[in-house]
Amino acid sequence: MSADAERFVRMYRQMVAIRFFEERVNDLYTRALMPGLAHLYIGEEAIAVGICEALRTDDYITSTHRGHGHCLAKGASPHLMFAELLGKEAGYCKGKGGSMHIADPATGNLGANAIVGGGAGIATGAAFAAKFLEQGRVAVCFFGEGALGQGVLYESMNLAQLWTLPVIYACENNLYNEYTHCSETTAGDMLARPRAFGIDSEAVDGQDVRAVNTAAVRLVERARRGEGPGFLLLDTYRYRGHHVGDIAREYYRSKQEEQEWVTGRDPIALHRAWLESKGLMGRDAFERIDVEVAAEMDAAVEFAMKAPYPDPSRVDEDVYA
């Protein structure tokens, strides 16, 4: 297979991995085996995968409350993620962070963040360090369109453009801030906002993993060359509730709207059809990926379920470095 073809297959597999991971999260959560909150990334997989495919392992990302996809796409281990989601000692954060705070220096993951817009400063700062230390690294700041409401995002974009920092702002516009449609919360033209700061900005179909990847590659390479920040506005949709418990959704969005995205714009189905049409993968290959990924995820869940909780005495550790 050509390098390109390998990339397309790898992106497919990654999207499947995220979806299977999230289905297991849903399952654990609804069976009351998982504490806290869980915000599923199902439907939005192409964004994390298309962007992270454009990154090096030592590039940085910041992530959100809906962060499992970013984490996995950046290379995290499902085993350690599930362990974290279950509050186990073996988890990425020794159980101290949970779903909304998974962080992993080994893959450049600066951490998921439960403050909407909380990653803006951090990603911009990591880019600042990367530039200052001349490491050639790039930082990607993932956030939902709801974060367009947070002033610190504009402050950060201004700094990034002023100082020509290698940071890409990736706005996942899934149309909803929790239970409120973005048209009720966002005046004017979304893309005009980063552009007002002079940032190279582009709107992309977030359900098309190849389009996402192409746009990401362009902005990442640009940033790496020292030409400054970029902004991606990615249209997408979350198939499920804002969090797992958000079941009755008709009061804020219609079943029909949901159905249209799920059947017409599913990133995995679209990419699969394309791979098939190009003859890059056949039914067997898809099946094999499904089986392999399912097995990996099941093993990860099993590992996590069996893993021990931290000893309560650990509560006082890691407060100070």
């Binding site: 101290k96 949970g98 919360t185 006082d316």
Partner: protein, 326 residues
């Protein structure tokens, strides 16, 4: 008078005040159709419409600042801060603006607004969604701070807060919304800000407890009773104004006092309250005023860790027992 949940009492207070005063509006994220993430405001938009129950962008500083100006210009806005942790985002608007405008203008402008913020851990929401940051506004002249512990107090304090001509921050414990139930009159009553309430009479030790910790103290008092210790539970209900007299009198009566609060222990509200008691009751005390608060750690996610972070009935029981030498 049927029992009502803490959350329903909040809703009742808001509905009553909105009926009474057309200038009262609610602002916050997902407050309208969703009725907030905790569903506490559910239904209010149906009665009052979306011009008075207003969904905002995720712009806590922006809509809090807007509320400050709206309050100055004749409204009575009530701002909803979904998680108390987000107070960190609005401190400038609350502290540098709302709290000071009356004073800085020589008494000419008023800022009659309410910030409703949640507080409380134990929901496995981790470090950024579990804090109880009421010590911060309590520190600031120009603010009032209410911390209801029962549905009765929740309704009465919130109504008092809305009618108050000053900025008032009211902290609502998330766990209490559904778990704490109690009698709530349909009447138009208020609980005045600055009046403590004795939630349990007792002779042997004073347990000063705020918000969520009142339930914990009540549980501990039941355990203490079994070993012959009769605890008095004093709920200040507002950290500012602070009803020093009631606190001091109780401590003088029992000769022992403990202060229990869910906020971080260090430099939290227990220090002030304990000092007030120590200064006012020193010569009647058998020993130092003792304090319990959240452990000096960010709130951890894992249940086994979170469960040792916030004071429990057992913690209160153990400490009270030691203090009473039993």
């Amino acid at each position: 008078m049927p029992d009502m949940s803490f959350g329903d009492a909040i809703r009742m207070a808001l509905a009553e005040e909105m009926r009474r005063d057309p200038r009262v509006v609610l602002l916050g994220e997902d407050v309208a159709e969703a009725g907030t993430t905790f569903k506490v405001l559910k239904g209010l938009v149906d009665e009052f419409g979306c011009t008075r129950v207003i969904d905002t962008p995720i712009s806590e500083p922006g809509f809090t600042g807007l509320a400050v100006g709206a309050a100055m210009a004749g409204m009575r806005p009530v701002v909803d801060i979904m998680f108390g942790d987000f107070l960190a985002l609005i401190m400038d608007q609350v502290v540098n603006q709302a709290a000071k405008i009356h004073y800085m203008s020589g008494g000419k402008w008023k800022v009659p607004m309410v910030v409703r913020a949640t507080m409380g851990a134990s929901r496995r929401s981790a470090a950024q969604h579990s804090q109880s940051l009421h010590a911060w506004p309590s520190h600031i002249p120009g603010l009032k701070v209410a911390m209801p512990s029962t549905p009765y107090d929740a309704k009465g304090l919130l109504k008092a807060a809305i009618r108050d001509d000053n900025p008032v921050i009211i902290f609502e414990d998330k766990i209490s919304y559904t778990k704490v139930k109690g009698p709530v009159p349909e009447d138009d009553y208020v609980v005045p800000l600055g009046v403590a309430d004795i939630k349990r009479q007792g002779r042997d030790i004073t347990l000063v407890a705020t918000s969520s910790m009142v339930q914990v103290a009540l549980g501990a008092a039941a355990m203490l009773e079994e070993i012959g210790i009769d605890a008095e539970i004093v709920d200040p209900r507002t950290t500012w104004p602070l009803d020093e007299k009631t606190l001091i009198e109780s401590a003088r009566k029992t000769s022992r006092a403990m202060v229990i609060d869910e906020g971080y222990f260090r430099y939290g509200v227990t220090g002030e309250i304990a000092s007030v008691i120590a200064e006012g009751a020193f010569y009647d005390l058998d020993g130092p005023v003792r304090r319990l608060g959240a452990r000096h750690v960010p709130i951890p996610f894992s249940p086994v860790l979170e469960d040792v972070t916030v004071p429990t009935e057992r913690d209160v029981f153990d400490l009270a027992r030691t203090m009473c030498n039993k």
